[in-house]
């Protein structure tokens, strides 16, 4: 970990106008929760939980993570400004580890915490849903950070590649083909919501909670190490 790079990452993400993009989605999540709570009369606690799984884990967490990854990794490679970090006596893994830390922080502030708040708005503190949503948000965010930074680097810094992965693998295939649940950041998040909350009738966790946590950690660490290795072999004037 490298303090100047952490500070630079914070400035880059939160010191510019694009911070509003990061804030918009969590605000929509909380806004929708307020709306559902006040308008919809027949909504059960189980409905609230599945709303958080679909919209929170399924959309808000990955999109916020992707936005942060794009800002801190893709665009710095594309415009070449990363060269100022690469020509310093700092290990490549420390560079990418610091960047991943900021992305994870953004995903927690813009994804996991708003999910907890949304759960409080929807059902109050009943059934432990708020804690479940928060923890699940953290785990899904960690997994998405690892996956997105790896994809962003391997696929020639392509944002499209990350988007396709999210739309096709996480949003489509993982709900159609059952074994994919073992390899899906979304199902790991879903599992934790279901495992921690005690709401009845909300379905069982797709994979065991312990496995989900470990898998997310592995994705995060593997992503950082892979990108660190890739950076060691990075060429800056290729294009």
């Amino acid at each position: 970990m490298n303090t100047p790079i952490l500070r630079l990452g914070l400035r880059s993400l939160f010191g510019r106008a694009r911070v509003w993009l990061l804030i918009a989605l969590p605000l929509v999540l909380i806004g929708l929760s307020v709306l559902l709570r006040s308008v919809s009369t027949g909504m059960t606690d189980a409905d609230a939980q599945s709303f958080l799984q679909v919209f929170g884990i399924g959309i808000v967490v990955p999109v916020v993570t992707l936005l942060a990854t794009t800002t801190l990794i893709n665009s710095e490679f594309d415009d070449g400004s990363i060269i100022y970090l690469l020509t310093k006596p700092i290990s490549r893994v420390a560079i990418i580890g610091s960047k991943a830390t900021i992305v994870l922080g953004a995903a927690l502030i813009g994804g996991a915490v708003p999910m907890g708040i949304a759960a409080l708005v929807l059902v109050g503190s009943g059934g432990g849903l708020a804690l479940a949503a928060l923890v699940a948000g953290v785990v899904a965010a960690a997994a998405y950070v690892g996956i997105f930074i790896a994809l962003a680097t391997v696929m020639k810094r392509s944002i499209l590649g990350c988007l396709l992965y999210w739309l096709i693998w996480e949003s489509t295939i993982s709900s159609l083909i059952s074994p994919v649940k073992w390899l899906s950041a979304r199902s790991w998040g879903d599992s934790l919501v279901a495992a921690i909350s005690s709401i009845v009738g909300a379905g069982k966790p797709p994979v065991p909670a312990l496995y989900a946590v470990l898998a997310a950690l592995v994705a995060l660490v593997a992503g950082v190490l892979l990108v660190g290795r890739r950076l060691a072999a990075m060429t800056s004037s290729d294009e």
Partner: protein, 304 residues
Amino acid sequence: MTDLVLSNVSRWYGNVVAVNDVNMHITSGITGLLGPNGAGKSTLLSMMAGLLPPSTGSVTIGGAPARENVAIYRQVGLVPVQESLYDFLTGEQFVRLNADLQRVPQPATATKYAIGLVDMASAADRKISTYSKGMKQRIKVASALVHGPHVLLLDEPFNGMDPIQRRHMMGLLTGFAERGHTIVFSSHILEEVEQIARQVEVLVAGRHAASGDFAEIRRLMTDRPNQYLIRSSDDRALATLLLGHPSVRGARLRGHHGLEVEADDLGQFAQIVPRLAREHGVRIFELTPTDESLESVFSYLVNT
């Protein structure tokens, strides 16, 4: 010692050879890397900076490999050609970032000093996004100097600078060289290079075409057959007169539109044309050098 040594360095991208078997031994002082655009100057500098692995051969700085060796960056400062900086930072924040990343002992003092060196103190508190091209260039140089590197690599450092800024930067680099640092900069402009570089390395189409001090390179470039197009009141008579002179290698009438002349010695040729014309009452309407473009100068060098 912080000599920069390239041994049999080649670099290719797929089928395209960007740098072809280059050997260089660069010592302290200013070395100019001269070549037309696309000659492989940036590729070579990236390899010197350890960013790009050579396909074959090796690059060492002070005996240590430049590649996969991040410790080398304590001794190296790089001013890349890209204009993109972290332009949401102010100039001062950007230079300070580089000082912090280099773990300079007194980052605040070093930052102030480096900014002063490039004469940017008055604009240091402005965001980089508001800077002109020349200002960005100077703040980039400050960021590369902030840790006092022994070796400074600059990719097209004078791009976008006005003449005053250019002279200031040249003075800065010269002063740096006098204190024993090794400086390598690339340029496609001969005049820039010969003003400050002690040693010139010419790169054309990836090949190391020539090497020497600037007087040598200048002579190579000017003592070559030059071609001119002349339009006059009597092309045929002028052709006869010119061919009588030893500095003229050939003359060829080009229809009714003019006379193509090839001459060896630029200095003499410039004197005899007006003299002969005046003595024989021929009026010159136009005299244009036809191969003055840098590419033709370089291709001449490659073919010798």
